[in-house]
Amino acid sequence: MSKTKTNEDYVGHNKMTRFFTSIAKLNLHAKVSKNLILLGLLFFALLILYPLFWMVISSLKSYDEIYNKVWSLPTEWHFENYLTAWSKGISSYFLNSLIVTLSTIVLVVVVGSMAAFTLSRYKSRWIDFALIFIIGGLMMNPQVALIPLFEMLTWMDLINTRWALILTYVAFRLPLTIILIRAFFLSIPKDLEESAIIDGCSEFGIYSKIYLPLSIPIIMTAIVFTAFFAWNEFLFATVFIDSDVLKTIPSGLMNFRDALRTDWGVLLAGMVIASIPMIILLILLQKYLVRGLSEGSVKG
């Protein structure tokens, strides 16, 4: 009897050992795969960051070193590449981009939030129709509108003016902005405005004193998306603006490339300068960006 018990003990012990070794193996397995995945993630991060890092480093090199010493750090740091890039045209492209982007933002936010206010507060057949009209705008894309817009802007004598970009950018950003802001306006409690009306607040007062201040977060989101679009837009900027003094950064860089066939360091410096504002904006306002993405109605 005692012998059987020992046997059972032995079997039990054996089972326990097997159980623990299998757990240990499982842990080891999990650790190895965790580290492999981590390695993959870091490799992917390197794949994203290295070209950008290379761009910054090479912008400080001479032509000879960009061409012959692809991987090395500069032996002489040519900070003057940045000064040259800035004075040879980037400054004016930068200023144009700034003017176009800021004007687009202001117009999109003001015009868009007003429309969103009406769309969220009133209900009638015409308002429903207006909503469909605005959402339908999402279906349109710049490529299809390009030639008619070119004709129309020529006819309006707006080709080669900043208005050509500002007006078209505003129109193309309005549908998305209105949808975003309207969704937020709908969530504002109705009793707020009822008490405001009792206090003698006008319609305009409700919009400007209640709805707008409450909606700062979503307006920030709209600003981020509009800024990103207007700063980087390429097709309209290339076709509608021919004059070098009015070009924005995306189209201006192409001129810059053609003008500086061999001055690669300066071109790279221009590219870095062109990217800095949006990266700063991303770092400062990423929570608004995520918010916009999570509204789920964002179209690239």
């Binding site: 994203i48 009406t118 349109m140 509108a145 390009l146 817009l149 007006l167 309005l174 949006m278 990266i279």
Partner: protein, 294 residues
């Protein structure tokens, strides 16, 4: 009087938007369709009516076929990277195991999204450069120099080089959309799965995928629409060349219109592009329930 005053503000408030959309979005759409029945030049004010001639030519244009097939390649490869791979990437980044590194990685992956396409394309011009390019000198470094080719100058490789750059730039955006969708999944679903002893792959297939199905669908549509429209990348990197090897519909439209001055034919190509994308956009509006009262 009071009744009328009540209607003035809503009308005034919505009027600028309606006008801007009407003039700059809807009118061009109609005008483009109208233009495709005419033959005209940028420089002359007269348009000659040619009926369906442009559309007949469209059916025989060999470049259209190459361009359309390139757009399809763009769509298929983007689907793999921007929907399948991005979803896996987002799932990994949202896993507890990587909680420490995920926020930094998320931002890193997103950086190229914020950079202007002209900067990215010029940068990849340097990367693909046959003499001093990063890609070829990397291949040399690891002993694969016989794989080194002039990426943008090679008729077989050019379109894939362009597509690769697009994936590099936009994967962060789609990954972020998936991350946001995954964060909305109720935590107790995963807890219940843990109790049942489900593994990670099982949880991914049985919880994550069905829960983000809608986002997946919308991302698919965004990706396909984007692939049908792609202009900047091939235009800046290769201008559709060498030959017509990396041509896309939009680049073809631009060249016909603004380089060869066949405005009427370019309008017909634009109409084709609109038809291809409008279907996907309509489905997207329907699926994402944009404008629904919640």
């Amino acid at each position: 009087m009071i009744f009328r005053k009540k209607h003035v503000i809503p009308t005034l408030f919505i009027l600028p938007s309606i006008l801007l959309l009407g003039i700059f979005i809807y009118f061009p759409l109609v005008q483009n369709f109208y233009n495709s029945f005419f033959d005209f030049s940028v420089f002359s004010p007269t348009k000659e009516y040619v009926g369906f001639a442009a559309f007949e030519y469209l059916l025989q244009d060999k470049v259209i076929v190459i361009a359309f097939l390139n757009n399809i390649k763009y769509a298929v490869i983007s689907m793999v990277f921007q929907v399948a791979f991005a979803l896996i990437l987002a799932t990994i980044l949202e896993d507890k195991l990587f909680r420490k590194v995920a926020p930094a990685l998320r931002i890193i992956y997103f950086i190229p999204v914020m950079i202007s396409i002209s900067v990215i394309a010029l940068l990849f011009g340097f990367i693909y450069n046959p003499q001093m390019g990063l890609l070829n000198s990397f291949l040399e470094l690891i002993g694969l120099e016989n794989l080194a080719i002039p990426w943008l100058g090679n008729a077989t490789a050019s379109i894939y080089a362009v597509i690769a750059m697009s994936q590099w730039q936009s994967i962060g955006f789609i990954t972020m959309l998936f991350i946001v969708a995954i964060q909305k999944i109720p935590k107790d679903l995963y807890e219940a799965a843990d109790i049942d002893g489900a593994g990670k792959v099982r949880k991914f297939l049985s919880i994550t995928v069905p829960q983000v199905k809608e986002t997946m669908f919308v991302n698919t549509l965004i990706t396909i629409t984007g692939a049908m429209l792609v202009f900047n990348e091939p235009y800046i990197l290769t201008n559709g060349g060498p030959g017509f090897s990396s041509m896309t519909l939009s680049v073809h439209m631009y060249q016909q219109g603004f380089v060869k001055d066949n405005m009427g034919y370019a309008s017909a190509v634009a109409t084709l592009i609109f038809a291809l994308t409008a279907i996907f956009a309509l489905i997207q509006i329907k699926v994402s329930g944009t404008g629904k009262d919640e």
